[in-house]
């Protein structure tokens, strides 16, 4: 359904914020993208929406049902955004117009893209709100965003995203601004919607626990590269790439205080300071001489794929 082929995002200074990503999301597939700030995960999502900021250049292909959308074909992108893909963000308040009632916000794409009448659009908006499990859905139609809680606003945005039956829902840190209890309910909702509607879900988060609850497959990014991918449960329980391992080890787990946390030395470098080879070179504890200059390809592992020269070295 929706696929990326050799996708790169190039900055104005010629550096690659996303480097050569191949990706296919099938109907009903739930894919998690994890990585720290600067890993390129949000750029990847925006490139699938045709919404990469001005000044950045997208190379490679975005395929929808096998057809490539040209970067400059704004009409095709608009129709793609209307019908096949939708996105929700971290801060729901910022994505809602404070002066527009919730029901009118959801009805807008229904009237514009599906040509429904005012009455039909309102009825459909109510159905969508009910589908997201928001309490007292009928009352919400006539409320303004500020009258809702953070979790309710996120449900409104999900209803809005579902309006035109997307094949793929991209959720960029949708639970980061929410309290734990609310976050659990939102991830449950996303899983249920993906299953019931056979809708693809691209779930972007730095929260490994949220990703493990929500997704079946996972992709780990670092400095614009996919460094490891596979089934979520296998990758998180037996990571192969040194970065994935470091990330999991550095993550505070539910243990009682007894020792220091293992850390990854240094910080995520700026784009212009990234190595030409493996982007993790310079911070990796098991670096080989070849790493900084030659980029390791994604190679099969026991749990999926990883891009690391160590995999070849062991064989």
């Amino acid at each position: 359904m929706i696929a990326l082929r050799g996708l790169c995002v190039r900055t104005g200074t010629g550096h690659l914020a996303v480097r050569d990503v191949d990706l296919t999301i099938q109907a009903g597939q739930r894919l998690g993208v994890v990585g720290e700030s600067g890993s390129g995960k949000t750029m990847l999502a925006l490139s699938m929406m045709g919404m990469v900021p001005d000044g950045l250049q997208v190379e490679g292909q975005v395929l929808v049902d096998g057809h490539s959308i040209a970067a400059e074909d704004e009409r095709a992108w608009r129709s793609h955004r209307a019908r096949s893909v939708a996105m929700i963000f971290q801060e729901p308040m910022a994505a809602l117009n404070p002066l527009v009632r919730v029901g009118d916000t959801i009805a807008e794409p229904l009237r514009r893209h599906l040509g429904l009448s005012r009455r039909d659009a309102r009825a459909r908006a109510l159905n969508l709100l009910e589908e997201t499990g928001i309490p007292q859905a009928r009352r919400r139609l006539d409320q303004y965003p500020h009258e809702l809680s953070g979790g309710q606003r996120q449900r409104v945005l999900i209803a809005l995203a579902l309006a035109c039956d997307p094949q793929l829902l991209i959720a960029d840190e949708p639970t980061t601004a929410l309290d734990a209890q609310v976050a659990l309910r939102i991830t449950d909702l996303l899983v249920r919607l993906s299953q019931e509607r056979r809708m693809g879900l691209l779930f972007i988060s730095h929260d490994l626990a949220a990703v493990s609850r929500t997704t079946s497959d996972i992709m780990v990014m670092y400095g614009g590269d996919v460094v490891e991918r596979g089934r979520t449960a296998s990758v998180l329980s037996a990571p192969e790439h040194p970065y994935t391992r470091g990330l999991l080890a550095a993550r505070p787990s539910l243990m009682t205080r007894s020792r220091r946390l293992p850390t990854i030395p240094g910080t995520v470098p700026q784009l212009n300071a990234l190595a030409a080879g493996c982007r993790f070179a310079g911070r990796c504890a098991r670096e080989l001489p070849i790493c900084a200059s030659r980029r390791p390809p994604l190679s099969p592992t026991e749990t999926g794929q990883a891009a690391c020269h160590l995999l070849g070295a062991q064989a």
């Binding site: 309290d179 734990a180 626990a209 329980s237 243990m255 205080r257 946390l261 850390t263 995520v268």
Partner: protein, 261 residues
């Protein structure tokens, strides 16, 4: 057991809400409801809860920014809300705070050395360079960084600067309000380790406020779980993790757990 550095005794804080009806009493929100705990030197107490649980109000009262409506807050045996303003100023050097967003608490137009020395100047000290240099080295930065501006640093480095400013007066108590929540995982681990190292060096008591039970469980000895201003449960971290006494604590646990193996 030695005397606690901080003793919070039956503290309550209420806020009046806007009146909804001319003829009814204005509604009152009890932000912190009868909370008590002790914190000893070298120990870390975690406070977890979601937004609106009262954890930040509690922190503000401990720092003396806000008065409780009832109850007492004793810092090294003194009730900080009964001190004269001048005495509170002097006592302040012994308890300091680190916030979630270091960028918001550092003056963008001042060199960081100036910001780090701020608590010393408030005490009337003028010769601060050597102490700034020492504090910077203590948090893993270089003395020369004092001449740089906040925007020249990464998020993790800025949080180190905020910690340097907090420890420059050799406090006995550090209040950390969501101090690592805005950081990436790999940086968060470095800052948590730094806090634990500094605690070992200085024998600090730390009041560690967070919404993330996993982070709290790593750094804290004891734990307070708050909801709606009340303490749901409290005790040793290991005990609460193994046998949570409340549904809400169980929810926090499942939110923090990696859903594999």
């Amino acid at each position: 057991m030695s005397d606690p550095v901080l003793s919070v005794q039956a503290v309550t804080r209420r806020y009046g809400l806007p009146r909804r009806n001319l003829f009814a009493a204005a509604p009152v929100l009890t932000a912190v409801d009868n909370v008590s705990f002790d914190l000893a030197a070298g120990q870390t107490l975690g406070v977890v809860g979601e937004s609106g649980s009262g954890k930040s109000t509690l922190a503000r009262m401990v720092m003396g920014f806000e008065r409780p409506d009832s109850g007492r807050i004793l810092f090294q045996g003194q009730d900080i809300h009964r001190l004269a303003t001048g005495d509170l100023q002097q006592a302040r050097r012994r308890f300091q705070m680190v916030f979630q967003d270091p960028f918001g608490s550092l003056d963008p137009r001042r060199r960081v050395g100036w910001s780090i020395a701020e608590p010393l100047r408030a005490m009337g000290e003028t010769d601060t360079d050597a102490q700034v240099a020492e504090a910077l080295e203590q948090v893993g930065l270089r003395a020369g960084h004092a001449r740089s501006f906040p925007h020249e640093f990464s998020g993790g480095q800025r949080q180190r600067i905020a910690i340097a400013r907090a420890i420059i007066t050799r406090p006995a108590l550090l209040v950390a309000d969501e101090a690592v929540s805005a950081l990436d995982v790999s940086v968060q681990a470095q800052i948590l380790n730094l806090l634990m190292d500094i605690q070992d060096d200085l024998g600090l008591a730390i009041l560690f406020i967070s919404h993330d039970l996993a982070v709290v469980s790593c750094v804290c000895d004891t734990l307070l779980v708050m909801q709606g201003g009340q303490v749901l449960e409290s005790g040793e971290v290991s005990g609460i993790l193994q046998d949570p006494g409340h549904d809400y604590t169980r929810t926090l646990l499942s939110a923090a757990r990696l859903g594999v193996s």
